[in-house]
């Protein structure tokens, strides 16, 4: 199977360690996204798979073969770079052919490959152009084409969309996913953008400070984050996190009692972090909700929804509510209602999840 397996991999630069023992298995045909803030070791991990960085310790295997001491060119992987790395002196066809020519593939075979891939990517009419004469999206496609023509076992993407503007990014994101569905090649994709991670991935790997925080499908991670870091990283706007203590019924935060379904019993008095997703609150009381006072200072209309910026006590809060076509009434909001079944609890000290969402 042409998956990638990473076993307790470390990366050190001299005395500085940047990846602290990463374990990860990427299944065949799977699209895995490594996501995390800059400096979390995600790019380093990707570059170790590519062979562009040496592995200080541990083992990486591609398609069942350990590649630690195998040169990048012999690993049968292809990479799409953040800045595309298209050769400015070569036209699109020559750029895509570069790797094949180096590998001494016969000319007509090269031509066939390029024609085929250009077709898939809609680049047929641009084959004679130089990268400088292409738009951002087209360059991005050429960069992918260059990877695809080689028919590698694994595609590696290093933040390939971060140089595009927001609109194009959304478009190319969908295109990458469609392409994956069509070609079914094992892919490892690095990004710092959690939306990209959520939309593209079969499985997301959240990294922080050189460690893997959590691995799972996008919805698993969204619904059951294992700690405050993952909880705060996925979701937009991020989850609101408020210090509190456990009670019989739920949690005590800033002098208010919050009812929480299934709160760990018998741990009354434990310090916790209470997590509330911005979109989970409502403005009207329901059967299983507890009210929280909120001091609102800004309403940002987004159209069908609006973001409410304010604070609960000293804790800044961002909330997301439906506008129903009008935001005028939102500026008067002074109280929100938190459903008892949609509250997250984390240990105040370790940040680990005490319980996930009830569903």
């Amino acid at each position: 199977m042409s998956g990638v397996s990473i076993e307790s991999v470390f990366k050190r630069y001299g005395a500085v360690q940047v990846v602290h023992g990463v374990d990860l298995t990427v299944e065949e045909k799977e699209f895995v996204v490594l996501v995390g803030p800059s400096g979390c070791g995600k790019s380093t991990t990707l570059r170790m798979i590519a062979g562009l960085e040496e592995i200080s310790d541990g083992e990486i295997a591609i398609d069942g073969r350990v590649v630690n001491r195998i040169a990048p060119k012999d690993r049968d992987v292809a990479m799409v770079f953040q800045n595309y790395a298209l050769y400015p002196h070569l036209n699109v066809a020559e750029n895509m052919a570069f790797g094949l020519r180096i590998r001494r593939m016969p000319k007509d075979e090269v031509k066939k490959q390029i024609t085929e891939v250009a077709e898939i990517l809609g680049l047929t009419e641009y084959l004679e152009r130089r990268p400088a004469d292409l738009s951002g999206g087209q360059r991005q496609r050429v960069a992918m084409g260059r990877a695809i023509v080689r028919h590698p076992k694994v595609f590696l993407f290093d933040e390939p969309l971060s140089n595009l503007d927001a609109k194009l990014r959304t478009q190319m994101r969908a295109e990458i996913r469609r392409l994956h569905n069509r070609l079914g090649v094992t892919s490892v994709y690095v990004t710092h953008d959690q939306v990209e991670a959520m939309t593209l991935a079969d499985r997301i790997v959240v990294m922080n400070d050189g460690n893997i925080e959590q691995v799972g499908t996008p919805m698993e991670l969204f619904n059951n984050p294992v700690n405050t870091f993952v909880a705060g990283f996925l979701g937009s706007p991020p989850m609101n996190q408020i210090q509190g203590t456990l009670t019989d019924q739920g949690a005590q935060i800033g002098g208010h009692e919050l009812r929480i379904l299934g709160a760990a019993s018998g741990q009354t008095g434990r310090d916790v972090v209470v997590g509330i997703r911005p979109e989970h609150i409502s403005l009207e009381a329901g059967p299983e909700t507890s009210p929280l006072p909120i001091a609102l200072d800004l309403v940002e209309p987004l159209g069908s929804e609006a973001l409410l910026h304010g604070s609960f006590g000293d804790t800044p809060m961002v909330l997301k509510v439906d506008t129903h076509g009008d935001v005028a009434h939102l500026s008067g909001v002074s109280e929100i209602h938190v459903p008892a079944d949609l509250v997250y609890l984390f240990d105040a000290e370790t940040g680990g999840a005490i319980r996930g969402q009830a569903n």
Binding site: A15, V16, V18, H20, G39, C40, G41, D209, G210
Partner: protein, 328 residues
């Protein structure tokens, strides 16, 4: 990606000796691996390094003859040591002391007149609005930089010739007697420095023009709004803005004070003008190459090189302090 994150390296439970042994083996396999993988860059590097060793570092080994009684037959290694004798001889010789002073005087004059010239020229170019005129003028003033010193000397010799030269022709129009410029010590420095300005001021202005081009245009726009005229803008905006460049170039010049373009001096001077024209390098040339006194000439060269080295290093560290930009 360079994550600045310190962390503990996993500890092993082996003895120190074992660990050290393992490390050495690990290092060795790593090295073998490295050279297997990267031998090509070492092949690429080799010719350059061999060249440097053979043509620049091997002569440094030969510099020891400055402390030896060198004879061609005994060779560098076989010649006996004489300590600082040659340096004593040098500093006791009027000729050498004169050459050192001449070097410093010519450099100082060059600094005084030759250094501001390209800056002034760059400022003047900056005030020209007609693009075609500017480009043509620049093309012409850059040209002499690319002309060899032999040709420059040929032009100077012809132009200053007592009977045929244009300079004496013009002097003649005013009823003066022709002057034998190139045989008069008092005329050597003005001619040499003037030639230097003629040859290099244009080309030297490129650096300053680039610095001027880097000045934020909105500074000028706001000055116009404030009612400044061109002259004021030049003094209040352009010159302060390019001051870092000026300082760096000045420091480089001071660092190179021992380097006088002696090629041109050799071509222009004659025994009659040695009094002002003979510099350290021409002295070395005459003593060593022409006179065969290799050891004394090498000592003079060593003196020159050490002074130059100290000056350049000082200049570099000063410029670092000024601009946080190192020259190399």
């Amino acid at each position: 990606m360079s994550d600045e994150h310190t962390a503990s390296i996993p500890k092993t439970e082996k003895s120190n000796v074992e660990v050290r042994h393992d490390r050495r083996n690990e290092r060795l396999t790593w090295l073998i691996d490295h050279f297997k993988r990267e031998w090509q860059i070492y092949v690429m590097l080799a010719p350059a390094i061999i060249w440097f060793l053979l043509f620049l570092y091997k002569p440094m080994y030969g510099l020891q003859i400055a402390f030896k009684d060198y004879s061609i037959f005994r060779g560098i290694d076989g010649s006996p040591w004489v300590g600082w004798e040659h340096f004593g001889t040098l500093f006791g010789s009027d000729q050498f002391v004169r050459a050192v002073w001449n070097t410093i005087k010519i450099s100082a004059l060059n600094l005084l007149f030759g250094f501001p010239a390209p800056i002034i020229l760059a400022l003047m170019f900056n005030e020209i609005l007609n693009a075609t005129f500017k480009k043509t003028a620049q093309t012409i003033v850059y040209l002499p930089h690319f002309i060899s010193s032999v040709i420059i000397a040929g032009i100077v010799i012809t132009a200053f010739s007592p009977s045929a030269g244009i300079v004496n022709t013009i002097i003649g129009w005013f009823g003066f007697e022709p002057i034998y410029f190139l045989t008069k010590p008092e005329w050597f420095r003005p001619i040499f420095i003037g030639t230097g300005i003629w040859q290099e001021a244009g080309f030297g202005s490129i650096v300053f023009l680039a610095a001027i081009a880097g000045v934020n245009p909105s500074l000028y726009e706001s000055a116009v709004v404030d009612g400044a005229n061109r002259w004021q803008m030049m003094w209040k905006i352009t010159i302060p803005s390019i001051m870092p460049t000026i300082l760096i170039m000045l420091i480089i010049r001071i660092g190179n004070i021992m380097e006088v373009s002696f090629e041109l001096i050799i071509l222009l001077y004659q025994p009659a003008t040695y009094a002002t024209a003979d510099v350290v390098n021409t002295f070395i040339y005459r003593q060593g190459i022409q006179g065969g006194q290799y050891d004394i000439a090498a000592a003079a060269g060593l003196f020159n090189a050490v002074v130059a080295f100290v000056l350049v290093m000082t200049a570099n560290s000063i410029s670092k302090r000024f601009s946080r930009t190192s020259l190399w």
